[in-house]
């Protein structure tokens, strides 16, 4: 898994963790993704950008198993992944957040984050119900992990608040916390900064970088804010009308004429 990298990265990233090969996704007659290939390396922050309707979210949904592509192969940790249900993908260690926030509104922040660790609880059911033996130990361990994440994301003061009452920016943060609680190999973020004000964006940026730094989590994200993307990511995939039109470091992508034309609409060079 630790083959040498040849990318001109400023930061050291590991081998290929996920490899997407010739992915094509259709909805009836509409082709959302056309023959796209790219990889995600261990420990990197990989961005997927593109204009509205370019197929970015579809791509993320393919990775997280919410959509099954008609063609192409998905390789994860060196194995080819067959068609899987989203919950099976999640159990493999791929956590995600959603563009339009999917949280459990009726539960407290703490309970929401705890659901991220459901799959790590192995105690028999009677032990859990009676709160005795293995279940108690597990709960305490999981709770400790969750508290670490809560501290890390600076949401201590709202941990008992029902999520439904929180403002938008904090909800996004709780969603990130829940995804982190699963200790994922790959963290998928669908527009983590959409709809945020400048201050919230800065916070979120800092958290994403810190997560990558401290936990070494591999992150793939979709984002509209170009400034943010260029600052955050190690490598960028650019999509337009379901095709891949660019792939490389932020600097490479920025100088790619096709990318410029997609974003500015015109490019008569």
């Amino acid at each position: 898994m630790t083959q040498a990298t040849t990318t001109p990265d400023s930061r050291q990233t590991g081998g290929v963790l996920m490899d997407l090969r010739n992915i094509t996704l259709r909805f009836g007659g509409v082709t959302a993704i056309k023959d796209i290939s790219f990889d995600i390396r261990e420990g990197e922050i990989r961005a997927i950008i593109g204009p509205n309707g370019a197929g970015k979210s579809s791509m993320l949904n393919v990775i997280s198993g919410f959509y099954v592509p008609q063609e192409g192969e998905i390789w994860f940790k060196g194995y080819r992944r067959g068609p899987m249900k989203p919950y099976e993908v999640a159990r493999l260690g791929i956590a995600r957040t959603f563009q339009n926030i999917a949280l459990f509104d009726g539960m407290s922040v703490l309970d929401n984050i705890m659901t991220g660790r459901l799959n790590m609880m192995k105690a028999p059911i009677w032990s859990q119900a009676l709160w005795w033996g293995r279940a108690e130990r597990e709960e305490v361990e999981n709770r400790e992990q969750v508290e670490k994440i809560i501290d890390f994301l600076e949401i201590q003061n709202i941990r008992k608040t029902p999520v439904g009452r929180l403002p938008y920016g904090l909800k996004k943060r709780v969603e990130l916390a829940r995804a982190l609680a699963a200790e994922p190999r790959i963290l998928l973020l669908d527009e983590p900064m959409a709809g945020m004000n400048v201050e919230e964006k800065e916070d979120m940026c800092r958290f994403i970088l810190d997560v990558n730094d401290e936990f070494g989590t591999t992150i793939a994200l979709i984002e509209h804010d170009m400034g943010v993307v260029m600052d955050l990511s190690d490598r960028v995939v650019v999509m337009d009308y379901g095709r891949k039109i660019g792939d490389g470091t932020p600097d490479e992508v920025r100088s790619n004429p096709e990318v410029i034309s997609a974003y500015l609409g015109v490019e008569h060079a």
Binding site: A95, F104, T115, I125, R178
Partner: protein, 326 residues
């Protein structure tokens, strides 16, 4: 003496309320987990009770069909099965039923409007009713799982010694209370503290989010319908013992409706408290007000109470407040 008599009525009302609550519980479970009002809950109780009787008496399922198709007339295996074992077998059949419902109905309606799912449960109710009749015959069956006798007499003697007035409480009501208490304790423990219970609450809240943390919707639905099937079995046993196993058993679902409106569709404790209030209210209203209006108030009291609640507190006593942010 007047006071003691009133309290006896009150107590009887409370216990009758427990019987209503037993039915309401099944509704709450499925509504909580999938937002579906399961119209078939009452029929599930009937089906469970029929199956239980059938197994206990060693009846041959589909006896009429077999007779019509092969000309062989067998109605009984010639054995009887003890109550506990038969209950266990029936519970297994209810799990099988839950799996079948998930595979044949729910799976194909994922993401549909609640009203569509509601319609599907109406269809399910009719189907199950027919299936029950074809399997076990439409005759009125007597159900006796062998609940210990004599508890009524004990209560009567005890209260007579203490208060000088013997409380009469139906044996079945006492057992219903004990069983309901155990059932509710188990359900609350399950849904609050276990991994599966948390997953169930998660699914109830948001499907996408549940999937993204690795919860299998399919498994949770089968689990919830199995539990609801088991609760239906318990309700079927209690009501079937009380009034015989027959078609009208499925109409107990109607009695559960006001209970749900009072307690809230999403709350397990709500189902219990709602049941108690209605059971108690019914009896006391009949006792105090009934004579003034010519009696028979028990037929409508619960529904009028439910209507009043719908006007002033539509989410019920314990239901989640519906807040729509605009």
């Amino acid at each position: 003496m007047e006071f003691l008599y009133a309290s006896e009525i009150l107590l009887n009302g409370l216990m009758a309320g427990v019987m209503y609550a037993l039915v309401a519980l099944g509704f709450v479970l499925i509504y909580k987990a999938s937002g579906v009002f399961n119209y078939a809950q009452g029929v599930m109780a009937l089906f469970a009770a029929m199956t239980l009787v059938g197994i206990m008496e060693g009846r041959v399922p589909f006896a009429h069909l077999i007779g019509a198709a092969f000309g062989v007339h067998v109605s009984s295996f010639g054995w009887t099965v003890p109550g506990l074992l038969a209950i266990l077998l029936t519970a297994l059949i209810m799990v099988g039923l839950a799996i079948a419902i998930e595979k044949l109905v729910l799976k194909h309606l994922v993401g549909q409007e609640p009203i569509i799912l509601f319609m599907a449960t109406i269809g399910l109710a009719w189907f199950l009713e027919g299936l029950g009749d074809v399997m076990w015959g439409a005759d009125v069956k007597v159900l006796d799982v062998g609940l210990p006798q004599g508890i009524s007499e004990t209560v009567e003697t005890l209260t007579n010694d203490w208060l000088g007035y013997g409380f009469f409480i139906d044996r079945l009501d006492i057992w219903a209370t004990v069983i309901a208490a155990a059932l509710v304790a188990a359900l609350v423990g399950f849904s609050q503290y276990t991994k599966q219970g948390r997953a169930m609450r998660a699914v109830a809240d948001d499907h996408q989010a549940a999937l993204s943390v690795g919860i299998s919707l399919q498994f949770i639905w089968i689990m919830v319908w199995s539990i609801a099937g088991f609760v239906a079995l318990v309700a079927g046993i209690m009501w079937g013992t009380k009034s015989g196993v027959q078609f009208s058993l499925s109409l107990i679902a109607l009695k559960a409706l006001p209970v749900l409106m009072l307690g809230g569709f999403t709350s397990i404790p709500g189902a219990i408290v709602g049941g108690l209030i209605i059971g108690m209210g019914e009896k006391l209203f009949e006792y105090f007000v009934g004579p003034m209006v010519g009696g028979a108030t028990e037929n409508w009291f619960a529904y009028v109470l439910a209507l009043i609640f719908l006007v002033f507190r539509p989410q019920g006593l314990f239901g989640e407040r519906i807040i729509e942010r605009v």
